[in-house]
Symmetry: C2
Subunit: 376 residues, 2 copies
C-alpha cells in the first residue's frame, strides 16, 4: 500500500493507498476534531485549500454526537461529506489529556467524559469498535501516551502493555472489518511507537510492534514537553528500526521547521492543531516567517497576509480588513485566518514533495527550515 517513489538522504517521497484514494507523502493531515475544522471550514473548503487527509478525534466523536449515530448516518465520510481519506486517532491521547479521574488497568482505561462527566471505559476493543463505526480509512492503535518526564521503569511497563493492547487492536479490527455491515471494510490499523525519550525503550518497542506487520507506524508521545533536540534525537534513534516499506507518522507535530526537519529524518505523515489554533489568534504563517496580525502596523496594510500565497483569503482580502474583523470579533476573521494557515501547511508539503522530486530538498531545507517558524 505504501510506495517509496524517491529518497533524498533519509527524506522520502512516497504514495499511500487508502479506500478513499491515494495520499501523496510527505503529507500534513488537517485536523477536524469533531468532524469539522474549527474556524467554520467545511469539507468543501478542505478541497479548495489542498487538504489530502482529514483527521478526526475518536474520543470527541464518541462523546458527541456518538459513533453509533455517525454509523447510522453512513459513517464519518458521509456525515461530514468528505470523500477523501480520513485518519482517526484512538482516543488515547484525549483520555490522557482531557478526561478526569482516569484509571489505567490491563483491560483499558476508566474515565469521566469532559462534556458531561459520565463514566466511560475504553480499551483496545472499544477504540476499534468506535473507529470501525466512524469508518475512517486509517485507525490508530489504542495506546498509553506517557508524559515526559516519566520514570524509566514506568515507561518500560507502559510500552509492554501498549504492545499487548496493539495485539488486541489488530484482532478486534480484523473481526470488525469482516462483519458484513462494516462501514469501511478496507480500514487499516497503524501501530504507535512509545517509549518517551528513552532510546533503548523506543527501539525495543518499535522492534516488537514491527513484528505485527501493520501497514503503517506512528511515533507517538512526542511534542509533549520535551525539547526539539530531544524530539529529533528520538526520531533519529527509532527511525532505522521502522519498516522502510511502510509510512511513518509523527503524531501532533508541529511547526513548519519541525516538519521540514522531521521529513529530513524520514517521516511521511504529520498532524497538528497549530495552524488552525494559532490562526484563530491571528498568528499567520508566511513564506517569510510568522506575522501577528494583531500588530498595530497592519491596521492600514492594504496587502494580503502573504503576497506569495494563493489561498482564498489572500486572493481577496487585505491585512487591514482581516485585522478589523478580528478586533471586531467577527467570525469571518477566524475563517479567513484558518483558511490561510491550513492552505499554507498544505502548500508547504506540496513544495517539500516537489523539492524531493527535483532533488532540491537540501536547498529547500536550508532556505526555509529556520525562516518559516521565525516571528517577523
Amino acid at each position: 500500500m505504501y510506495k517509496l517513489l524517491k529518497q533524498s538522504g533519509r527524506a522520502r517521497r512516497g504514495e499511500f493507498d487508502t479506500p478513499h484514494g491515494k495520499v501523496q507523502t510527505p503529507v500534513f493531515m488537517n485536523v477536524g476534531t469533531q468532524g469539522a475544522i474549527k474556524g467554520a471550514l467545511s469539507a468543501r473548503d478542505l478541497r479548495e485549500i489542498g487538504c489530502q487527509v482529514e483527521l478526526s478525534n475518536t474520543y470527541h466523536l464518541h462523546v458527541r454526537p456518538g459513533d453509533r449515530l455517525i454509523r447510522e448516518m453512513g459513517g464519518l465520510h458521509r456525515f461530514m461529506t468528505w470523500d477523501g481519506p480520513i485518519l482517526t486517532d484512538s482516543g488515547g491521547f484525549q483520555i490522557f489529556s482531557l478526561a478526569s479521574l482516569r484509571k489505567i488497568k490491563e483491560e483499558g482505561v476508566y474515565f469521566n467524559s469532559h462534556v458531561d462527566g459520565r463514566h466511560i471505559f475504553m480499551g483496545p476493543e472499544e477504540s476499534m469498535r468506535i473507529q470501525s463505526n466512524l469508518g475512517s480509512d486509517i485507525a490508530m492503535a489504542f495506546d498509553e501516551c506517557v508524559k515526559i518526564p516519566s520514570p524509566y521503569e514506568y515507561v518500560k511497563r507502559s510500552c509492554e502493555r501498549t504492545t499487548r493492547w496493539l495485539q488486541r487492536c489488530k484482532a478486534a479490527l480484523d473481526a470488525y472489518n469482516s462483519e458484513s455491515d462494516a462501514v469501511n471494510p478496507g480500514q487499516v490499523l497503524w501501530g504507535i511507537n512509545q517509549g518517551a525519550v528513552f532510546h533503548d525503550l523506543r527501539i525495543a518497542h518499535m522492534q516488537e510492534i514491527a513484528e505485527l506487520d501493520l501497514p503503517g507506524y506512528a511515533i507517538g508521545g512526542l511534542a509533549v514537553g520535551e525539547t526539539h533536540r530531544e524530539m529529533y534525537d528520538t526520531i533519529e534513534a527509532v527511525e532505522e528500526y521502522m519498516p522502510k516499506d511502510r509510512p511513518r507518522y509523527l503524531m501532533g507535530v508541529g511547526t513548519p521547521s519541525n516538519i521540514i526537519e522531521s521529513v529530513a529524518r524520514g517521516v511521511d505523515f504529520f498532524d497538528c492543531v497549530m495552524p488552525s489554533r494559532n490562526g484563530r489568534h491571528g498568528h499567520l504563517f508566511t513564506w517569510n516567517g510568522v506575522i501577528n496580525i494583531n500588530n498595530r502596523k497592519y491596521e492600514r496594510d492594504p496587502e494580503p497576509i502573504d503576497p506569495l500565497c494563493a489561498c482564498p483569503a489572500c486572493a481577496r482580502y487585505s491585512k487591514s480588513y482581516i485585522r478589523h474583523l478580528l478586533k471586531a470579533q467577527e467570525p469571518l476573521a477566524l475563517r479567513l485566518m484558518v483558511l490561510h494557515n491550513l492552505f499554507f501547511y498544505n502548500e508547504l508539503m506540496r513544495r517539500i514533495r516537489e523539492a524531493l522530486e527535483q532533488g532540491t530538498f537540501a536547498a529547500f531545507r536550508a532556505e526555509y527550515s529556520g525562516k518559516l517558524s521565525e516571528r517577523i
Copy 2:
C-alpha cells in the same frame, strides 16, 4: 433612477440604478453590520447566496475600525471586496439603541461609544461625512428614531427636527459628493419618514420630506415594539403620500410574512437581522415554515434543512450533521445556518419578483404569507 416595471394592486416590481449596478426590487438587503455578515460569511459568499445589496452600519464602522481608515483603504466596497450596491444607515438607530448617556440637541446627538465609552457627537453633517468616507451607494438620512409609545407632542417636535436635519443632510452630501476625492461621487441620499403610529404626523412628515425630491424614501421607526396590525396600518396610511416614482424602504422588517404583506402594501426595499440572528440560534426558514434544529427529532435526520432549497448548506449537509455541529459549538454550524437563512430570504424575494412578473402575486401571498412564519 427607479423604474416601475409592473404593478399588482399596490405591490410593485421595479428596478433601481446605483453606481455599483442595478437592483431588482422588491429586494432584501443582507446585513453586514461591521463590514461582514455575522456567521463567517464573506463577500464571495454573498454572491453565491443571491445577495443584491449589502447593508452596513455607519455607527459601528465609525466606532471601529473608523470611517477614515476605510476611506484610506479605498472605501467600503474595496475594504470588504463587495462590488455590488451597498446601503449604509445613518447611525441614528444605533445611537438610540446602543449608545449610553445620549443628549439630543438641535445640532445633533452627544453620546458615549458602546465599545470604549469615548464621547462622540453626531449630527447630519457628521453622518454624511462618515457615509461619504465609507462610499456606500445609498446613504440614509440622519434622523431620530422615536420609541413607541411616545407622547404625540414629542413625536411632532421630533419629526420637525428630523425634517430640518434632512435638509442639512442633503446640503452636506451634495457638498461631499462634489469634492474631487469623493470615494463614491454617485452616492445618493434617501429620506426617512418618522411619526411613530400617529397617521397624521406620518403623512405630514412624508409630505414635507417629499418636497426635497430625494431618489428614495424609507419608512423608519417601525418594528420597534408596535403590533403587526399597527405597522401595516401605518404603512397603508403613509404609502399613498410617498412618490410613486421612487423606491420605498421599510427599515428593519422583518419576518417572511411581514415582507410579503409589506410588498402587498407597496414596499420595495427591506432589511433585517432576523435571518442571520435567528439562524445562529438554529431557527431555520423552510418553504413549509420555521424549524428549530435544536429539536431532538433532527438528531438522526439525514435530510437537508429544506429539501426544496438550493443553498450551499442544503446542497451537501444533513440536519443531523448541522445539529451536531451546533451542539458541539463548532463555528461551521453558524456559517451553514446563516448561509441557508440568507439564501432563503434572497430566494423569497426572487420568487416574489417572479410572481409579480407573472401576475400571480395574490396567489403567492395567499399560499405563503401565513405559512412561512409558522413554527413547524
